[in-house]
Amino acid sequence: MVNLSGDEKNAVHGLWSKVKVDEVGGEALGRLLVVYPWTRRFFESFGDLSTADAVMNNPKVKAHGSKVLNSFGDGLSHLDNLKGTYAKLSELHCDKLHVDPENFRLLGNVLVVVLARHFGKEFTPDLQAAYQKVVAGVANALAHRYH
């Protein structure tokens, strides 16, 4: 569960309505793979990830990033029940994909940086604080069914 005030929820949704989810998703995943190159271990089937340019322009990265961020958007509509919302995805990431949950935290942080990049001054400290709570909540929900 995420502990957001009414104002924080409004601010989060307000910003999200302006986010180009497909673009931002691809950018966030791409930046994760470049800034933390060890995360490429999960994407060996994606083709060329050898340079920053290759990663950022890779169509599979963009497609997957978009998928991930659309799922994140789903979470935003269910902030009071993130664990329920992500239960199946949590099982998938543990049992089939074998992804260390630390990666969810890394991606969440990169997403926050990408939002800051797009929104500039509008991404105030308070808005950052709200989004960091959300990404932490999503990461915890995705880790919840691990065993």
Binding site: G30, R31, V34, V35, Y36, A52, V55, M56, N109, V112, V113, V114, A116, R117, H118, F119, G120, K121, F123, P125, D126, Q128, A129, Q132
Partner: protein, 141 residues
């Protein structure tokens, strides 16, 4: 180990920060305290609701230290030795806090540089700032 390109990205970004250490540092601290309130326990000397002057002063000090690191990127250990001593014997900031500060640093960079904040710059600065954190906590035990 920073490559020549990584050093170029570090210098490029620093050129945009130099001269603005105080406001940059103040915003960094504001974000740190807003996002990670537990970190305020290390800054009691700034007071409960740090005023702008205190934040600007302390922010400037922190960013000037980053400037030292930029100028001595090949020899961080020597250049930051007094700061490392300070952190090990006086400040004793738990090492888990440095990534929190680095996250806020990236957010300040991203929100100010926006389109100019390339993925290569983000990668270089993450590596560089992490390197600084390693040096600052190396003498802890």
């Amino acid at each position: 180990m920073l490559s020549a390109q990584e050093r170029a990205h570090i210098a490029q970004v620093w050129d945009l920060i130099a001269g603005h250490e105080a406001p940059f540092g103040a915003e960094l601290l504001l974000r740190l305290f807003a996002v990670y309130p537990n970190t305020k326990t290390y800054f009691k000397h700034l007071g409960d609701c740090p005023d702008e002057v205190l934040l600007l002063n302390h922010g400037q000090r922190m960013l000037e230290a980053v400037g030292v690191a930029v100028r001595h990127v090949d020899n961080l250990r020597a250049a930051l030795s007094p700061l490392a001593d300070l952190h090990a014997h006086v400040l004793r900031v738990d090492p888990t806090n440095f990534p929190l500060l680095i996250q806020c640093f990236q957010v300040v960079l991203a929100s100010h540089l926006q389109d100019e904040f390339t993925v290569e710059m983000q990668a270089a600065w993450d590596k560089f700032l992490t390197g600084i954190a390693v040096v600052l906590t190396e003498k802890y035990r």
